[in-house]
């Protein structure tokens, strides 16, 4: 099963603004880009034309893994606003 099919089973209440901000300059200095691979929702993707990192914040499971593994401190990560984001029905 693809990860977006898994995420489609989850309940989310979208936040108006992204809780993850990417510093593109710091991100561009990183060659490994571990965020792309380790994100459990596979929400990070490099836009080839512009070489910019993008994150699909609405599917975020709020685990914080990307922030911890980011070697260049390129992610400003906070929780979504109160009541927004992932809503585990089982947990």
């Amino acid at each position: 099963m693809k990860v977006d099919e898994r995420l489609a089973r989850d309940a989310f209440r979208p936040d108006d603004q992204s809780h993850i901000a990417i510093d593109q300059v710091a991100c561009a200095r990183c060659e490994r880009r571990p965020c792309v691979r380790v994100c459990p929702g596979q929400l990070y993707a490099l836009v080839e034309e512009t070489d910019e990192m993008r994150v699909e914040h609405t599917g975020c499971l709020e685990c914080g893994t990307c922030m911890i593994v980011c070697p260049g401190g390129a992610l400003r990560w906070r929780y979504p606003g109160g009541g927004a984001g992932i809503r585990y029905r089982f947990g």
């Binding site: 099963m1 459990p40 979504p80």
Partner: protein, 430 residues
């Protein structure tokens, strides 16, 4: 007991640690405000999950709590190639009140506990994100900022989980490193209770807990778990974050996908419907290296304090969260009675924790996570076990050796050799 706009205690996070702390404080007549960012308690919480009841003694908060199944069947399997070497234990003795463990689903359990705390007079404000701490010039914590508003309190309890922004703001720990954490991802499969009982050989209400290590994590330190809930299965994998962050590692969804394809797992989840997918970080470093637990006006409990012990064949965190919440509540109540919320007064919590049975376990097993991260356990041991078992259980063209000779030959060649002895000695830490 409130003075002006100040509440006695603000608790950040309505998880097990925060709610146990709130319950204990209410029992001492202390006013509590629990702030929870989810739109209900448990909405942001994810555990494996099973709860060990033994260390909780008789925590009244849990009376009648919605557990899934009492675990009466345990197993751990080492997988290598197509081979599975498994040790299992099934016994009513696992269901004895003193040593029982239950599978739980946090969204249900935490919401139920929050209702109990509300019923006892506590205020649980959901949908409320705490932005940071209010600190005076001397650095003493005087409250929190929630959604742009200051809420003053005599004591703040950081029960905000493994990432704990509160512990960091309070200066009790530095930024977390990948080596201090493991990533857990979990798929919840809905399956009829009768089918669960058939597939796992269970009586109604009884549960199974299966761990799988070895190739199942592509050799990464960690393991997979499969727990039975009332009418669902929790299938997940927990892997150390430093190993996962290395370039050669598979992505977490690929790991989970590969696990689901393995025959021993596929048969268990056949026909079951995926109803939820989640991810959560788990403290992995020894709690005492995770950070300090007490500052002036601030106390850290549960995952936020790194209170998880990995024993290898069992992993526990929820019982530690509940116990730490209770002990923090007792210490805070006493400190407030003396009108002293200084670090010195609140450090009674640290003393109570250290002297408690879980505190002794924390000290004793401080090195276990390191021991379990040794790659031979997940890479070599499953293959050694499989090679030995294949000979023990079969008859080749030549004469049969005594069982002890076969076993000794494998141990001598592959385990009792230089380089491996140090690894074996490390196992004493478990």
């Amino acid at each position: 007991m409130a003075e002006g706009d100040r509440v006695d205690v603000v608790i950040v996070g309505a998880g097990l640690a925060g709610l146990a702390c709130a319950w204990t404080l209410l029992g001492h007549g202390v006013e509590v405000l629990v702030l929870e960012r989810g739109d209900q308690a448990g909405a942001k919480n994810l555990s494996g999950g099973r709860l060990y009841h033994g260390p909780l003694e008789s925590l009244e908060l849990l009376d009648g709590a919605p557990y899934e199944r009492v675990v009466t069947r345990e197993s751990i399997a080492l997988v290598a190639g197509g081979a599975v070497t498994q040790v299992s234990f099934a016994s009513d003795r696992l269901a004895e009140p003193e040593r029982r463990s239950s599978t739980v689903l946090r969204a249900r359990l935490d919401a139920w506990l929050a209702d109990r705390v509300s019923g006892a007079g506590g205020v649980v404000a959901t949908g409320t994100l705490v932005d940071g701490l209010v600190r005076d010039d001397g650095g003493t914590v005087r409250g929190v900022v929630a959604q742009g508003e200051e809420i003053l309190a005599r004591v703040v309890v950081a029960a905000d989980g493994a990432l704990s922004a509160m512990a960091r703001h309070g200066g009790l720990r530095s930024e977390l490193e990948p080596s201090q954490l493991a990533l857990g991802i979990k798929a919840l499969y809905s399956l009829d209770a009768g089918k669960i009982e058939d597939r796992f050989c269970l009586a109604p209400g009884e549960g199974a807990a299966e761990l799988v290590v070895g190739e199942i994590t592509s050799g990464l330190p960690g393991g997979a778990f499969l727990y039975t809930n009332r009418d669902s299965l929790s299938l997940g994998v927990v892997v150390r974050l430093d190993a996962l962050a290395s370039d050669a590692a598979a992505s977490p969804p690929d790991l989970l996908h590969a696990i689901e394809q393995r025959p021993e797992i596929a048969r268990r989840i056949a026909g079951a419907e995926l109803v939820e997918y989640g991810a959560h970080l788990v403290p992995e470093a020894a709690p005492d290296r995770f950070g300090r637990r007490v500052a002036d006006g601030l106390v850290v409990v549960g995952d936020a304090a790194g209170l998880v012990i990995n024993h290898g064949i069992t992993v526990r965190g929820m019982d530690l969260a509940l116990v730490s919440g209770v002990l923090a509540g007792q210490a805070i109540a006493q400190a407030l009675e003396q009108d002293d919320a200084s670090r010195a007064a609140l450090s009674r919590y640290d003393d109570l924790l250290r002297d408690s049975t879980v505190g002794q376990d924390i000290g004793r097993f401080a090195g276990s996570a390191e021991t379990l991260s040794r790659s031979w356990l997940t890479r070599d041991l499953p293959a050694i076990a499989a090679d030995m078992a294949a000979e023990l259980y079969s008859f080749g063209p030549g004469p049969k050796e005594r069982l002890s000779t076969t076993a000794w030959r494998h141990l001598r060649r592959r385990v009792l050799r230089l380089g491996m002895l140090g690894e074996l000695l490390r196992l004493r830490r478990l």
